[in-house]
């Protein structure tokens, strides 16, 4: 950088958490009926990236990893104002946990000559928050997490970030290239322009890249290369609330005294 940085935004398609129903009979989440939508923290990432472009120019390119239908979120990103979108799709990526996912996204960022990578703080369907730091770690780049606001410093080839800390905020400056995770809800994502939205949904086609394009060894991604091992799941049974009817205040005080509320 550069007055015209290449800003790559990692986004993800997730089940719509507004539409994830709780089965009233079993109390379990039913995700299968929920439509796939853009992970909402990613809107803050897109807004932050587009804000940097507003300030210093450059290009904003959205990237997402997934099967071809995931291209829908790229269209949404382009509608919002991204210059382009890249679909990272390969059968070899199937079953990847955060380790190979961040490896793949890091390789894609490098492939796109990224100066800045921006992500949301986490995804609503897995909530690990590991991917943005993972991208930085795989490449040895700087990282700025839980960012409220970005301030590009093009003369110094740096990016400053305001981070929320207890009792105030801190300002951290990082050298490029840098990976940014934007705190959820910290900015107001811009609505898509009418003509841009018509274009994005009807004419735009994303660039598609696979493991071969990215020079990724298929042994290093996918389920087999994922270190996460889910040990098991437990369902917590609800506890019925006890109800007692008392006749007067003294009886109430006695009832409370007999519990562990008052020693």
């Amino acid at each position: 950088m550069t007055h015209n940085p290449t800003i790559v935004v990692g986004i993800k398609q997730v089940p719509d958490d507004d539409e994830v129903r709780i089965d009233p009979d079993t109390g379990r989440l039913d995700r299968s009926s929920a439509p796939a939508v853009l992970n909402s923290p990613d809107r803050n990432a897109l807004e932050a990236a587009l804000g940097v472009r507003d300030d210093v120019g450059g290009q904003v390119i959205a990237m997402t990893m997934g099967p071809p239908p995931a291209a829908d979120v790229l269209k949404e990103a382009v509608a919002m104002g991204c210059d382009d979108g890249v679909l990272i799709s390969d059968i070899a990526f199937g079953g990847s946990d955060t380790w190979p996912t961040s490896l793949t996204l890091a390789r894609t960022a490098e492939y796109l000559d990224a100066d800045i990578v921006v992500c949301g703080e986490e995804t609503t369907d897995s909530s690990t928050g590991q991917v943005p730091p993972g991208i930085a770690a795989h490449r040895g780049w700087a990282q700025l997490t839980y960012v409220e606001e970005l301030e590009p410093l093009p003369e110094a080839n740096q990016l400053a970030a305001r981070r929320d800390v207890e009792g105030g905020y801190e300002r951290v400056v990082a050298d490029l290239p840098v990976v940014v995770a934007v705190a959820f809800g910290e900015n107001e994502p811009r609505p898509a322009g009418l003509h841009r939205k018509i274009y994005a949904e009807n004419e735009f086609e994303p660039v598609t890249v696979d493991a071969n394009d990215l020079d990724i060894d298929e042994e290093t991604v996918g389920l087999e290369a994922s270190p996460t091992n889910v040990g098991g799941m437990e369902t917590i049974e609800g506890v019925d609330r006890e109800r007692t009817v008392v006749d007067d205040v003294d009886e109430l005080a006695e009832a409370i005294r007999s519990t562990e509320v008052f020693a």
Binding site: P24, Q59, D84, H195, R196, I198, Y199, V207
Partner: protein, 451 residues
Amino acid sequence: MTEIIADRNTETPDYDDRFDAVVVGAGLAGSAAALTMADGGLDVIMIERGRYPGAKNVFGGVLYTPTIRKLADLDDAPLERYIAERRYGMLTDHDETAISISPGEWHEPPHNDSYTVFRGEFDEWFAEQAVDAGATLLTETTVTGLVRENGRIIGVKTDRPDGTLRAPYVVLAEGGNSLVSERAELKETEQRGNVAVAVKEVVEFPDDDNAIQDRFRLTGDAGAAYHYFGEGAVGDAFGGGFVYTNGETVSVGLAYRISDAVSGQPNPEGTLNAFKTHPAVAPLFRGGRTVEYAAKTIPEGGADSVPELTHDGAVIVGDAAGLVLNNGVHLEGTNMAVESGFHAGKSIVDAAEQGRTDADALSAYAENLEASFVMRNLRRYEWLMEAVENDREFVFRELPQALADAGTEYFRIDREPKESHAENAKERIMEAVGGYTGAAKLALRYRKIVT
């Protein structure tokens, strides 16, 4: 930057006048218009404010499909049940007097073109038919106004940045709450006496898989449409209640005039709860659980309230044009919406062939709608609302009570002879209708409902 990106052109094109027509709202009227125009070779864009077509749409529950059947293949459509039985019940606060009809013919395709549907599913499907025919659908975008040039409507304004889109024709299919048409002074804001407020619940039966077929005596895909009026349905208001069976749920609701909601019957939700617990209705919902609650307004002004339908560069269709028939026996709007969208679409295709956008070039829409069942039905019952309004105490309160009392007398089992039971029953009716003279007047006044 990498070459793979640098070589691409992703500039935003200018879509002004790239589409032949903009359709405001992808409900039944809008999609019918879009589908008709796309079939006629026009480039059409539908602009829908909901996240998907139907997301914002509410209706009682029965869709009438004679025109849709001509436009699309209904075999693929998400239909719930066909209507196999219609029941009309008059309710006092604790009596019911009902008639039921279930002709054998209704069990045979095309099932009298009457089906319960969920609009969220059906409208999305119908809009897809328009998209398959070549139309473009844009969701989550609200049209806020019209663009005019020298008096002619030449496009729409939306709530988005860079939000103006020009097109030679605009189809206003925005529904009953037609703010765009009103702001553009293409129609007047409706009087509150001509608008109904409707509330509805969808109820499921978690503990009884056979609840619907058992309680409504149904088999297979057969369904029931029950209509109710009288004090037990909507209290002191002018309106009625309904119960419709869906596939796995039952819709129950009521509609009455907003003018009553601001005076004598202020609480639609409470009124619906009272209706649901009426002794004739409550057993249908035993053990039920409400899974959805919805409300909307229905234009009921009849033919008098239908605005000028064609303008230079624009037409108004569906609920936005007030095309809803409610005469107590027939509650129809969906069929009129589709019929109007179809005629409007056709007139635009014809006008486009002549390269004209003026109102005169679109007049075939108004003429064909006038000649169709839509305006003929609205005109036929124009007098009815006023007549019932004048007789509302009789129609909604005295008549249901008299019929219930007469039935009680006529079928009374005691040690009196049937002659006196029949006499008592007749007396009760005569009292309510005002003797032979009153009965004759009523018969004359309401003869056009059946003749």
